[in-house]
Subunit: 219 residues, 2 copies
Amino acid sequence: MTQKSPVKQGSRAASPRKASIRRQNQAVILAAAEDVFAERGYAGASMSEIARRADLPKANLHYYFGTKEELYRAVLDDILTAWRHDMDGFRSDADPKQAVSAYIRLKLDFSHRRASGSKVFANEIIHGASVLGDALGDLVRAGIAGKDKVVDEWVTKGLIAPVDGRHFFIMLWAMTQHYADFEVQIRKVLGKEALTEADWREIAIQVETFVLRALCLPV
Amino acid sequence: MTQKSPVKQGSRAASPRKASIRRQNQAVILAAAEDVFAERGYAGASMSEIARRADLPKANLHYYFGTKEELYRAVLDDILTAWRHDMDGFRSDADPKQAVSAYIRLKLDFSHRRASGSKVFANEIIHGASVLGDALGDLVRAGIAGKDKVVDEWVTKGLIAPVDGRHFFIMLWAMTQHYADFEVQIRKVLGKEALTEADWREIAIQVETFVLRALCLPV
DNA sequence: GTCTATATATCGATAGAC
DNA sequence: GTCTATCGATATATAGAC
């Protein structure tokens, strides 16, 4: 499957220049695909439009990723890998206020900077995670990584107001993703043509204040 | 465009039996379309699948709704009409705790009962509201209907903790919609095969408690 | 108002020259 | 590794018999 080269050459690692071309083209295609999948959905996105956006011939997409579904999987995998490293501030010996504040800002910032990726994921879940399938269970477990137990522990110790750890994370994810995924609607509510960096700072303050107060932590 | 009848007859109102057939077929098609659009997205939904789900020949869908886009608009219109009547508990002379509690339960219950409609709307917004277009501005204004000002007034009077009325509604919508739209993910987090009525009651309690505490209202 | 058969368009995927 | 030309499948939409 990988030995399509007409001329024999030791291995792929023996040609670092070509490997670099490969990596760069894949990155360009992934970025274009993430945007198009976010704007049009999986079925609505066409390989031709992704190719146009990546400024490459359509056949090259199939050369690098095989099928449309494989490309879609690669986009999902890319965003989920980036997400996995977000929860590290949650340890039972950490200060609740610090951990919660940092996590909200991290999530909001990430949703904002990689809005397309966030939207692709949202779409996948809304449509029943038919492509992720059973892998979603593992992803959720990896994403929450027992941190709900840390929250439950804080509750037991009386450090925060009583809340179910799992629902706490669901509500946090709901708020932080919503501002990115529903940006078009947010803009209408706030009466803004576009959201500036200052708007995003205000959003962070609003969410942070709301959540800290819900946990009876000092604002 | 509507005078396709081969035989002339007074008017459509003159034939109440046919008008009833018309209304019922339209309702069946709308319900099927709402489900399919929710599961597959606009582009991914096919007229044949909607027809199959409605147990009608595909040509009848075009007879009643013309094009796929018109059918989609009708589905959106249907769900938005139902939403418009949800905000009536919010009046400045109402008791904040009562109003907030009732609203959360109303929204959650609605998201749950009309999950497909909620998902269709979420999809439309995530993809930039390209079909709703400028109409979204009016819809948002009608949806919030100045109720953010009521919240601001409660803050000024010292009845609730300080919060921006617009962000308050955004966060409320985020949480209530998220539980319906992301149900697949919620189930994984909670470790449930399906969400029962008891689960939904627990969800309502969790969200209500969280929000009331964020406003420094008695739980 | 119902339904079969079909015209037309578009998309995903690949063959094959370079 | 790149790119043009094209195949085959599927979707929307409609014509026309009933």
